[in-house]
């Protein structure tokens, strides 16, 4: 019971921390990491949900399955995000701000 709560609270805290970082930091890598921390938090709460105190029988496998799915999803999304960040860094040597501005202008013709 207490353990469940402990895990859940930790997960919640991680979620909030990740959210805060996501908002205040502008560097792509930090943002990606922040999102990862958040997802970890969510998964932690999920796993905590799976644990059922004795009278109700032992473990609920469904959240486990969901966590596995979630982890895989977050892994793939993280990989994609990292690659995108790298591409952004490579393809334009501008400062982040310029790029942010530029992101509002549609593509120019390439002839």
């Amino acid at each position: 019971m207490i353990t469940t709560l402990l895990y859940s609270m930790t997960g919640l805290l991680l979620f909030a921390m990740g959210l805060f970082t996501l908002f205040i930091h502008s560097h792509p890598l930090r943002k990606i990491l922040a999102v990862n921390v958040m997802s970890t938090g969510v998964f932690l709460i999920m796993v905590a949900t799976a644990y059922k105190p004795m009278p109700l029988g032992n473990i609920d496998p469904v959240p486990h399955a969901m966590v596995l799915t979630g982890i895989v999803v977050s892994v793939s999304v993280t990989a994609l995000a990292l690659l995108l960040a790298c591409r952004v860094q490579e393809t334009s040597n501008l400062d982040l701000l310029e790029r942010k501005k530029q992101a509002r202008i549609p593509e120019e013709s390439r002839r």
């Binding site: 919640l12 109700l56 793939s76 490579e90």
Partner: protein, 252 residues
């Protein structure tokens, strides 16, 4: 416009103390956390979730491990889509760039090589074991695939295996193999039992193991090629001259 101003401020305050709106944000988040926390705290713990349902249908699922049963039988459809997510990540990654080509071979000392020579086969073994025991204990396709992926990463790092050099077709076949087999088996079951992924009860164990193995291989490849970060050299129709192909990076 507004987001830009924010970002400007953020850039300025890099490393400085938090300014007003950040503090406000912090405060809001704390409130949120406390609210959610109290809700969790006060939440009644009496729901047993789906434990009993799983326990009831366990023996029909064809595997002992409840998690695997849920993952590949009861909620196999989720897993099917999830494998697609992985594949999508690879396609997305490949659409972004060609795998970076670091001209000279890496300076791999004898120790490193030795380690790799020892580790990689071992990893394959462990992966196979994980997949196999997935049917009755914790473990399964994803765990196995992860190990395989790690092995692939090791090979890539030491450049014993070099992705841009790999011909694209076999790689693609390897990547698609798992998901495609999954779909085919699903449709096969549809023909047999009239339900997508509705395994016939006696064959369930075998089919699940088959799917797991295939997926493990594909997932391993997926993770490895995600690490390689880009599509191999010859992965699109008539890419005749790589020079014109590689000048894609320069922008007008």
């Amino acid at each position: 416009m507004k987001t830009e101003k924010k970002s400007i401020r953020r850039i300025r305050n890099r490393g400085k103390r938090l300014d007003a709106w950040q503090l406000l944000l912090l405060f809001l988040l704390l409130c949120l956390t406390t609210v959610l926390g109290t809700i969790i705290w006060t939440m009644p713990e009496n729901t047993s979730g789906l434990t009993d349902a799983v326990a009831r249908l366990q023996e029909q699922s064809g595997v002992e491990s409840p998690v695997t049963a849920v993952l590949l039988n009861f909620r196999g459809y989720d897993t099917l889509l999830e494998v697609m997510v992985l594949l999508l990540a690879v396609i997305g990654a490949w659409s972004l760039a060609k795998a970076p080509f670091s001209g000279q071979a890496a300076d791999t000392g004898p120790v490193q090589m030795g380690v790799v020579r020892l580790l990689v086969p071992l990893m394959f073994l462990v992966a196979a074991y994980l997949v196999w025991q997935g049917s009755h204990l914790a473990g399964g396709a994803f765990q196995g695939g992860a190990i395989l992926g790690a092995a692939g990463v090791l090979l890539l790092v030491t450049e014993l295996l070099f992705l841009p050099a790999i011909p694209a077709l076999p790689l693609r076949i390897g990547l698609v193999f798992g998901p495609l087999l999954f779909v085919v088996i699903a449709l096969f079951c549809l023909c047999l039992t009239g339900h997508l992924l509705g395994y016939p009860e006696q064959a369930a164990g075998g089919l699940i193991l088959l799917i797991e193995t295939a997926c493990a291989i594909s997932i391993g490849l997926t993770l490895a090629s995600l690490f390689a970060g880009g599509h191999p050299e010859d992965d699109h129709p008539q890419s005749v001259n790589p020079t014109e192909h590689s000048d894609k990076e320069e922008w007008p």
